[in-house]
Amino acid sequence: MAEAALPGARLERRDALLGLALIAPTVLVLGAVIVYPLLSAIYLSLFSLYTPTLEGHWVGLANYRAVFGSGGFWSALATTAVWTVGTLTLQVLFGLAMALLLHQNILFRSLARSLVLFPYFLSTVVAVLVWRWLFNDLYGVVNHALMAAGIIDAPVSWLGTMPNAMLSIIVVGAWKFFPFVVIAILARLQTIPEALYEAARIDGAGPVSRFFDITLPQLRDVLTIVILLRTVWDFKEFDLIYLMTGGGPVNGTRTLPLIVYQQAFGLNQMGLAAAHAVAMMLVMLVFMLAYLRRAGGRVA
């Protein structure tokens, strides 16, 4: 019996080795690009470091006391929340509306479907340059158009005053990232069986009923995932805000990623920057856990 079982056992061991060999590259790459930087950020956050030389000394949790004790972190967290909620809401509403429109049999549908991706693929630097020009208070098209339409009497400083600056970045963020929402929702819309709508028509549901009774429930899963993902991505958005306003006016649009950058490369406080980054990560962990539960639940 034992002899008979031997070849099978050897085969199993070989399978196990093969399994390890196949998963090893993934583990190594993830370790190098995720686990190592994460651990090193946590490690750095326990030091007072001068960025250009990375020289400094151990301060323990002093950086964290500074982070949580200062008003800067909390106001930046609030700013980040305003930016995230604002831009995400616009992205989802506009993305949903656009996806529903592109799902209809409209003229030039495939052309429109390609064009809608344009903002998402455009480099942020280029997009921001164009938007800054549009928003310029002296020669910007936005002011010109609003004045021509008689909505405003004098040019408005879109990026230099609050709350205009926040509104501006929220709008540009929504413009830049709504195509992601469109793609995800459009893909789901196309898989909703037509028979459901036909059954609903026979059952007496009008267009509004059909949207709320069939389309929206069918989109619930994809909306949840899209919102979670975009929350995480908007929360840590850096380049768009930095290039649009640099965090100003004063600290009006200074979100958490901007503080991290400012501490690390403006004030050369790498240790404090790392502490800010770790604190920010803790906030994001909430969303990530929600996402993982959602994604894990779907597999199960």
Binding site: P193, A195, L196, E198, A199, A200, R201, I202, D203, G204, A205, S209, D213, I214, P217, Q218, R220
Partner: protein, 366 residues
């Protein structure tokens, strides 16, 4: 009384005409099957009746009411879809109540009617489940329940059994027959499965390329197919169709099929001589005795009967003989045909010849 009338109904998708002009009158309380191969226009016909497609011409009326401008919800119809189309996020109870809710039926009445339908279809233990937690047969019953709960005048069923396995299909067939008997409602049933059409319908509308071929009770469709297409389409295994010549022979007539000569009653002589298509059903071939010889090509025992493929010269025949296999492939057997049950069709357009042999015999009991 709810009569369903198709009056010269035409349907074209762009330049493609799928239904050139359909005339069909379905009487109140009938169970009518629209039967035909894929693409014959049967589903389009049903969808036009439901209001999911607009006819390109002609007139459809339900219960004397022209429904051209009525949306599906106002036609007093209910439909069961091939995919069931249950709302996936709603429970069974919510699914069944949905049409009542959308019509503003008061809550207590919704509950009463839900209970009635659930009892009728034995859905009570399933009411709190979601469709994905149900088997195919259970989903089918929920779809029926959603149609029944509104008490419509006409039920439309679009291949409702085709997603079920064979045993369940037979079971649901029986349930549908029983349901139709109890409700006495007009039902229009689309299927490509002739067994379903034959067993359930009061009348079958056989369609091909958008054209109605025959509209008659199942027995008549089987015993007197109106043309060569219906003859070949209805019946499993299908009727053997062969080119033949009708000849005059003194005062009588003879049918020449290849080398075979069959004497026919004298009244057929009037049309002779002419080219015809002769149709012979498998059960009308007698194997083991008779004036002709055939080679046994294939023997397919099914248990209670055996299907035998025969070859007599150029003529390929299929015979159905009761019991287990008594023959072997490769042997030669004598055979005969039941002359009284031969079918004759015009060689040109395939219509059933009026001087038909079976016209003298009554159709077998329905």
């Amino acid at each position: 009384m709810v009569q369903v009338v198709f009056d010269k109904v035409r349907k074209a998708f762009g330049d493609t005409v799928t239904i050139p002009g359909l005339d069909l009158v379905i009487e109140s309380g009938e169970f009518v099957s629209l039967l035909g191969p894929s693409g014959c226009g049967k589903s389009t016909t049903l969808r036009m009746l439901a209001g999911l497609e607009q006819p390109s011409g002609g007139r459809i009326s339900i219960g004397g009411r022209d429904v051209a401008n009525l949306p599906p919800a106002e036609r007093d119809i209910a439909m069961v879809f091939q995919s069931y189309a249950l709302y996936p996020h709603m429970t069974v109870a919510e699914n069944i109540r949905y049409p009542l809710r959308k019509r503003g039926v008061p809550k207590p009445e919704q509950a009463t009617r839900l209970a009635e339908v659930a009892a009728l279809l034995q859905l009570e233990p399933l009411l709190d489940r979601k469709p994905r937690q149900l088997s195919g047969g259970q989903q089918q019953r929920v779809a029926l329940g959603r149609a029944l709960v509104r008490d419509p005048s006409v039920f439309l069923l679009d291949e409702p059994l085709s997603n079920l396995d064979a045993a369940l299909r037979a079971h649901m067939r029986a349930e549908l027959i029983e349901l139709h008997r109890r409700l006495g409602k007009t039902m229009v049933y689309v299927t490509h499965d002739q067994l379903e059409a034959m067993t359930m319908s009061t009348r079958i509308a056989v369609m091909k390329d958008g054209v109605l071929q025959q509209f008659a009770p199942p027995a008549e469709i089987y015993d007197r197919p109106a043309n060569r297409f219906v003859a070949g389409f209805i019946g499993t295994p299908s009727m053997a169709l062969a080119e033949a010549t009708l000849l005059r022979d003194g005062g009588g007539a003879r049918l020449q099929i290849g080398a075979m000569m069959i004497d026919l009653p004298g009244r057929h002589a009037a049309a002779a001589p002419c080219a015809v298509t002769v149709g012979i059903r498998p059960e009308d071939i007698v194997v083991g005795q008779g004036p002709w010889q055939a080679l046994v090509r294939l023997v397919e025992p099914t248990g209670h009967e055996t299907i035998v493929a025969l070859e007599a010269g150029d003529l390929a025949l299929t015979a159905r003989i009761p019991g287990g296999p008594r023959l072997h492939a490769g042997e030669t057997v004598a055979f005969d045909v039941n002359r009284a049950r031969l079918h004759l069709f015009a060689a040109d357009d395939g219509h059933r010849l009026a001087l038909d042999i079976t016209d003298t015999t009554p159709p077998r009991s329905a």
